[in-house]
Amino acid sequence: MIVLKNIEKIYRTETVETIALHGIDLEIEEGEFVSIMGPSGCGKSTLLNIMGLLDEPSAGYVHIEGTRIDSYSDRSLATLRNHQIGFVFQSFHLIPDLNILDNVMLPLIYRKTSTKERRERARTALERVGLQSRLHHFPHQLSGGQQQRVAIARAIVGSPRILLTDEPTGNLDSQMGGEIMKILQSLKSDSGTTVVMVTHDEEKAEQTDRVVRIFDGRLVA
């Protein structure tokens, strides 16, 4: 599903060169739930951004479903992200001036779908995360856990085959975190979605199929 070949990521300034990732080779199978663990600043989020085509590697290749994507145009990358990949961020990244329904509908406005279909799909996604009664609330009217569930609904509304989550439980208490994990597990088991989760939490990582560990920009396990 996702193949990373010899990925390097180097941040350069005039005086300093920082190696964020070095020689990363990683394959993630379809329907797998993988967690990426490592200390702060080890390159976990950078790796996730490269997998999600939000950032370009300095060297190496990314393959999504067998296709090398380094020659893709900005528009093609956007289409690929829209159709194949869903993102969940630690800080939710909901648009505060849109209500829950409009936030969830957001990825669909970049597809050729009718407003009616967008609404239906957004309602279904929100039902799936248990927020069908909050359609017209605004993000600030929801708890952190509820906001993260909205972010998950937004990530899955377009039925992506890959879900990339960056510390989705990082800002939540353990109970809320547990609920989010259940939702992610159900996405894997019910829809066969490939889930990649960056986490600091050993306990959450143990609930996934495989744990990938990174230290100083290198895979260690």
Binding site: R75, G86, H93, P107, G158
Partner: protein, 391 residues
Amino acid sequence: MIRQMLVLIWNRKRINALIMLEITLSFLVLFAVVVSALYAWKKYSTPLGFDYRDTLSVVLIGQWEPHHAGQLKRAAEAMRTMPEVSWCEASHMDLFTKSYWTTVLRHNDKPTQLMVNRASDQYHQLARIPVIDGRWFGPQDTGGDYEPLVLNRRAAQKVFGSESPLGKVLPHSLGKFNYKVVGIIEDYRQHGDLDPLGEYGFRRYVWEENSDTRMRQLMVRLKPGTPRSIERDMLKILKTNLPDYDFSISELSVARESYMRKSLIPLITSAMLAVCLLLMVAMGLLGVLWQNVAQRTQEIGLRRAIGASTTGVLVQISGELLTMTAFSVAIGTFLALQVPFTGLFGNIEADLMVGGITGATSVMLVLAFVCSVYPAWLAMRITPADALHYE
């Protein structure tokens, strides 16, 4: 996308209201500038109603006595004998100066104020004033129980409306005699190219031996290419025939240039102020929009993460701002349309209103587009990953 754009604009109404207020005020300033510029251009591009080229103005400086009328008549006749002179006629009012003389005409109890001048029988030929209806006054008007009057088209329309003005008799404002309209001319703008179109009339000056009617100026049309040295010969003739006077001789083309320079100073000053104002508006708008876009950098990162291309996000950001500009311009247009009803700036003609609104709208849309695209483009250059973490 359009629905979502409108929802976002509405939901951000508090922030957007300030931007829209700035755009509306800018639009109104621009509207005023464009209308003023169009008005000045319209006046400039409208024919003056006379030909000033190759013409000298000879102003008599001295105290008028009735016997001076005969001296003036002989001076004009002597000038006409000069081979370089095509025409020499009398016209009381200076051209390209701010002086004026007005009278009031009453027709059907409706008073109309107009500027007037007094000129001799061939003056229209000297000044090449097109007579569009009737005739210029002449010897056939001598001895009548009226004073002949030539009106410009605008005055004729204002005094008589749809009635035919020719042959109409109107009382003098003090009841001393009656005017009779004998001819209609096009516009005659005595004050010059930037003078607004107004009501104007010519009264007849008759060459006589003795007259209480003071005439203070002779107009002399020279043959093209005549050197200015002719003024010396002219002065000799003038001094011989009008010994009680001093004379000021000037070329009308020079007088026009001097008038244009003086008139353009306030216009150029206003234009420079307007340009400064526009620059300030542009900078202000750019600053507000820049801040607005900068605050939305994370949102831009999010939109790109969920499937928007850079072009798509540019369209989104610019689209929102152009939509707000369109709303602001609509409000500004509504307010601008109320200006004629206030009467503060006189009667603003429809074509100026249309030009002002069109011009101001175009500039505001371009300004909003440029001011939104540039900061959005800068935001686009950040990778989605960095944009998502932008603080």
